[in-house]
Amino acid sequence: MSETAVTVTASAFLREKVLLGMEPKAYAKSLLTKTNAIFAAILAVGLPTMAYRFWKGMGAVSNLSQTNPWGIWVAFDIVCGVALAAGGYTVAAAVYLFGQKQFRPVLRPAILTGFLGYAFVLVGLVVDLGQPWRLPYQFFLTPGTTAVMYEVGWCVFLYLMVLGLEFLPAALEWLGLAKVRRFMSGLTIGIIVLGVTLSTLHQSSLGAFFLMSPGKLHPLWYSPFLPVFFFISSITAGIGMVIFESTLSHRAFQDQLDPEAHVDMDALQLGLAKGGAVVLFAYVFARLQGLVASGRFDLLFTGWGAWWALELLGFFLLPSFVFAFAVRTRSATLARIAGVMTVLGVVLNRFNVSLIAFNWNVEDRYVPALGEIVISVTIVTLGVLVFRWIVNRMPVLNEHPEWRGVH
């Protein structure tokens, strides 16, 4: 820092960095919006429900049982959450490892989405497990070194830290800590490689979870290739989420966008669409290969078979074609539609594997309790609020003027 740098007083820091340059009163007034009223209503119901779950135990708010120990907290908050947070490693790999520099403008939002996604996966996990102070037991006191859960635990723990480090430059630019920021530039590639490696490992090991329950998962979804399916579909989820999230951000945070930057969002999303078309196409054939290997063609002509075909053809093959058509006709709107379809497809697939086609043959089918849904909605709302808080303050959608083009 130069010697002329002024010492920022605590109150000025609070006003400029936290209160968006407003006095506390004006800032409080600016929070009174319709959107915030909805968020507040959700939290007013959700946070006490969450507290109640920790106080009375999960039987008090959920329909979970010995037969159905995993409900929507696992299916939605964790299994879907991890897949939908895959945009971070997908874009980071594209930009830094495959040299696709044109995707840089969506890198930071993707990493932030990934970081918050994982952070709230952890919240969901703690809600499901209870007794958060025992989380470190699995690493230090009772390590189950042959368990898939052990690997997933380590991966999520380490990858959350890596995502934090990947996002740290934005926070450092916001705080004006130039020296540390410059130091971080030297670590970028190493952190990115670590992040991609960890993602590859645990996206696939989430699929490996279900290898242990061949009798519980419906044979159309059960396959020895589940880890491969989970890994490939996480890439499609990442691409779909980045398209979806960049579209939303560009509407919601229009004032944040740098008019000088001239980011051609349409061209960028069409570039992602091309990748999405190819990966989805390959994924559909991988799934068909899984079906052939199981040899259970007879099941295709059942109700489950129709549901399976709807998932694969309607939510994976169709978006692949829509992506291809979007690229061919240079229609960014079509690419966005296909992006949403892809996200829905991955969500449907994760729900099928971990919930709908899981325990398909038991009498006592699980239906989520209201309390479980309320807590899941609360966790997503918290994620959105933290995302908004950060985007409004740190250089995420725009580049910090002093750090333009720096890694």
Binding site: F281, A282, A293, A324
Partner: protein, 220 residues
């Protein structure tokens, strides 16, 4: 519970068939995905480049003629900038380096440096082009030449330049990049078979056209 409907051999057979059909179907899928978009389909007719011309990525060209090399601004550069008001050519004897400034062209009050495609010394300049700068575009690789250079290590220099199909692909890609920035209305005009707009940069970005040109001439 688990009826074996097929023999292991039949299953293996279907697996192989599925793998082959994936590869076979991927070809038309890939071709569809990369299929000529309207913008690229007519890029060939937009910007010409003869077989004996070598292009630098900064849109200058070189053509060997006896022991010397003719140098000028390529068709793309001319059409991007539009009618030239003036060309500022170096004095005979000046040394030029590949990738560094060789001459300057002026249009609409903006001047643009164009890089040399080869290393060497300037042995002649095109006085006719200097006097009638606006005419250079008519035959950019012929009468529109600007300087003649005696090359120092031509063989090595030519390795860094594009010719034939790779030159056409390069202009094709440059045109594709432009087409992506064009307003839809302009695209329609061109697709209707109209001649390329003279001074494309000004059509695309009226306010920042000079910047667009400089970026293209950097050849990055």
């Amino acid at each position: 519970m688990n009826p074996e409907t097929l023999t292991p051999h039949a299953i293996k057979g279907i697996e192989y068939l599925l793998a082959i059909s994936y590869l076979a179907l991927f070809i038309p899928f890939w071709r569809f995905l990369n299929g000529a978009t309207p913008a690229q389909a007519f890029a060939f007719s937009w910007f010409a480049v003869p077989d004996d011309v070598h292009l630098h990525r900064g849109h200058s060209w070189a053509k060997t003629l006896g022991g010397a090399v003719m140098v000028g601004l390529d068709d793309f550069g001319h059409k991007l900038i539009g009618p030239l008001d003036e060309v500022k050519l170096p004095a005979v004897g000046t040394a030029v380096r590949q990738g560094q400034k060789a001459f300057t062209v002026v249009a609409d009050g903006e001047s643009f440096d164009v890089v040399s495609p080869v290393d060497g010394n300037v042995v002649a300049v095109n006085e006719v082009a200097r006097a009638h700068a606006a005419d250079a575009v008519r035959d950019p690789y012929g009468t529109g030449w600007l300087v003649k250079v005696e090359p120092r290590w031509l063989t090595a220099n030519l390795k860094n330049l594009l010719s034939g199909d790779s030159a056409r692909r390069f202009l094709d890609a440059a045109a594709g990049a432009l087409a992506g920035r064009m307003s839809p209305e302009l695209g329609v005009v061109l697709q209707d078979g109209g001649a390329p707009v003279h001074g494309i940069a000004r059509e695309i970005e009226p306010d920042r056209w000079a910047e667009l040109v400089r970026q293209a001439l950097k050849g990055a």
